[in-house]
């Protein structure tokens, strides 16, 4: 597959801070690529540099192997769906979607045809003459996406476009966006701080922190094999412990609990951080298995959330808290507050990183 976007050692420095600090990545054509990071990590700056609203301090942006630095946004083959959508309030749906085509001096009949077929794609063909203010949040969203996609850009950039929607609608739009991208085949670059959006929709996710990319991987790999302590802590829910290395295959947490564990960062001397996912912890495991950590937990409270229910428990020896997933298959329905349960976790699921 050809790379549609190639970012090379991109840097952006604002007056007093380095927003983007040496970013390298490639995006293959037709992929759904997400950049995931906490607010202030520089992901919006990165996106605005790709769109052309900001000039990088150094580095290269290649789109279809053409250098884009120095080319103004209206001449780049990318389109951006804005966080607040930025639909033109003085135009109706049809005029909004036709805006870009008119700028390319496309024939009037052709514009009409393409706008109509684009709006059919996003199921808004009946709203052609509606004012954009009359639309619901989800509909506005789709107009904004249609307005950009109708220009058949090489890359569609999306800047947290689902942020303003309520939860239910957001879940629906996630699936719809993914389907739309599959149908159309345009490369999407999606910026978000919401890991579930990134994991659900993307072919590949780049996790960004403090202006640098920590890991670029498939959602599955990102979740199963985080390469850095930041990724381990940021993607998915996890239990985090400050610990000391005891020997090559075990650590002791600050609270004094011993974990058999694997070391992802090889050069750990003493201090380290241990991550254990809630769903990796088995309740009432088989006894005396090899490479298993066993402990007794006291249930403090049950955090019911349908299929995502967890228990918040503490170790019997001390009061340190740990989160354990609770499968909703009635097997564990008897567990109550203040029960003491046996729990186990395999060594492979206890990952240690540099502190």
């Amino acid at each position: 597959m050809q790379n549609v976007l190639d970012i090379r050692n991109l840097k952006k420095k604002f007056e007093d801070h380095q927003a983007v600090n040496g970013v390298n990545f490639q995006v293959e054509e037709g992929k759904f690529f997400s950049i995931l990071g906490p607010s202030g990590c520089g992901k919006t700056t990165l996106l605005r540099m790709i769109a052309g609203f900001l000039e990088p301090s150094s580095g290269n942006i290649l789109i279809n192997n053409k250098e884009m630095v120095g080319i103004s946004p209206n001449k780049r083959p990318v389109n951006l769906v804005f966080q607040n959508l930025a639909l033109f309030p003085m135009m109706n749906v049809q005029e909004n979607v036709a805006f870009g085509l008119k700028r390319q001096n496309v024939d009037k009949k052709e514009i009409e045809k393409r706008v109509k077929s684009m709006l059919e794609r996003v199921h808004l063909e009946d709203y052609l003459n509606h004012n954009v203010q009359e639309l619901s949040g989800g509909q506005k969203q789709r107009v904004a996406i249609a307005r950009s996609l109708v220009l058949s850009p090489s890359i569609l950039l999306l800047d947290e476009p689902l942020g303003a929607l309520d939860l239910k609608l957001r879940e629906e739009m996630k699936i719809e966006l993914k389907k739309l991208q599959n149908e159309i085949g345009t490369t999407f670059i999606y910026i978000t701080h919401d890991q579930s959006e990134a994991l659900v929709m993307s072919d590949k996710v780049a996790v960004m922190n403090k202006g640098q990319l920590e890991q670029i991987d498939t959602p599955q790999n990102l979740y199963a094999n985080p390469k850095t302590s930041f990724v381990a802590g940021f993607v998915g829910e996890t239990n985090k412990f400050q610990a000391f290395k005891e020997n090559e295959e075990s650590v002791i947490t600050k609270e004094g609990i011993k974990f058999l564990s694997i070391f992802i960062d090889k050069d750990i001397k003493k201090d380290c951080t241990l991550f254990v996912r809630p769903e990796a912890i088995a309740l009432f495991p088989k006894d005396n298995e090899k490479d298993m950590n066993y402990f007794d937990l006291k249930v403090k409270t049950i955090l019911f959330d349908g299929s995502n229910t967890k228990i918040l428990a503490t170790f019997l020896e001390n009061n340190h808290e740990i989160m354990v997933s609770l499968p909703q298959n009635r097997e564990f329905a008897h567990i109550q507050k203040n029960d003491v349960v046996k729990a186990g976790v395999h060594i492979e699921d206890c990952k240690c990183y540099k502190a």
Binding site: G52, N74, F82, N84, F88, P89, F99, Q104
Partner: protein
């Protein structure tokens, strides 16, 4: 409860009503009747359209009228051209922390009365004025040029006097505009020219229209500035009205002129609103 509302309503409504009725409507009705009366040969007042006929027959009257209307439109347009970049600069380009300061700088001259400001211009422009003095000092001219009492100085003075009333609605209109509209248009391939005419102007249209209405009406009805900066050549229609009331003491003729001016300004504003597809209450809210 209902009585309370009625009472509160009356308290607010009565002063407004009295103000409008006693100071505006009543005198206007009186002027209207006055405009329809003329003195006959024996000195009695009789009903007649003569005052209006006079206006159409005497060339100088309706030429002045036309000139005033066209110049007022020109002044409104020039005021917009001058103030728009300033409003755009203040709202979109400089950092927001200087916005208040710059706006105050703009308002400051208007703390001084119009008369004083116009005299300021006269001090600059007259034959023995500041500009002439320095032009002579630097040897650019041999003898002073009269820069006052022509159309250019009059138009300039009118634009200057009107600027505030245009810039305030423009700033508030542009202030409400999210920068992302401009960026989105740029992203969709629009040139700067297209962004200005298809995005910024339509977005600011209510502000432009409300500013234009105020500026147009104030200019059309302005007496002081055309008189002082344009002198006797100014031929501003308000002067004709003044002459009729004060110089000729012909209140009936003056009243007719006054009504013609009222009809003219209403008509032009109505046409302007139709062309710009705005509506009055929306533009002025």
């Amino acid at each position: 409860m209902k009585k309370h509302i009625t009472l509160a309503f009356l308290i607010f409504f009565i002063p407004v009503f009295l103000w409008l009725f006693l100071l505006i409507i009543l005198p206007q009705i009186d002027l209207f009747f006055m405009s329809l009366k003329v003195e006959n040969d024996v000195g009695d007042m009789v009903w007649s359209f003569n005052n209006y006929n006079e206006f159409f027959q005497e060339k100088i009257y309706w030429l002045t009228f036309l000139r005033t209307a066209l110049y007022s439109i020109l002044v409104t347009f020039l005021t917009f051209v001058v103030t728009f970049p300033i409003a755009f600069y203040i709202t979109k380009i400089i950092s927001p922390k200087y916005k208040g300061f710059l706006t105050i700088l703009l308002l400051m001259p208007f703390w001084v009365s119009e008369l004083v400001r116009v005299y300021g211009w006269m001090i600059l422009l007259r034959e023995s004025g500041v500009i002439n003095y320095y032009l002579m000092q630097f040897g650019l001219i041999d003898k002073p040029i009269q820069m006052l009492y022509n159309d250019v100085s009059m138009i300039m003075g009118l634009v200057y006097t009107s600027m505030l009333f245009m810039i305030v609605p423009l700033i508030s209109a542009l202030d409400g505009m999210d920068d992302s509209y401009i960026e989105a248009a740029l992203d969709l391939g629009a040139s700067k020219f297209v962004i200005f005419f298809k995005i910024i102007i339509p977005y600011a249209a209510p502000g432009i229209v409300s500013g234009s209405i105020v500026v147009f009406m104030l200019t059309l009805g302005n007496y002081l500035t055309p008189n002082l900066l344009g002198g006797k050549n100014s031929l501003w229609f308000t002067e004709q009205i003044y002459n009729q009331f004060i110089a000729s003491f012909n209140w009936n003729q003056g009243a007719a002129f006054g009504f013609l001016l009222l009809i003219l300004s209403s008509l032009i504003i109505w046409i302007g609103l139709k062309i710009s597809k705005q509506n009055l209450s929306k533009a002025l809210s």
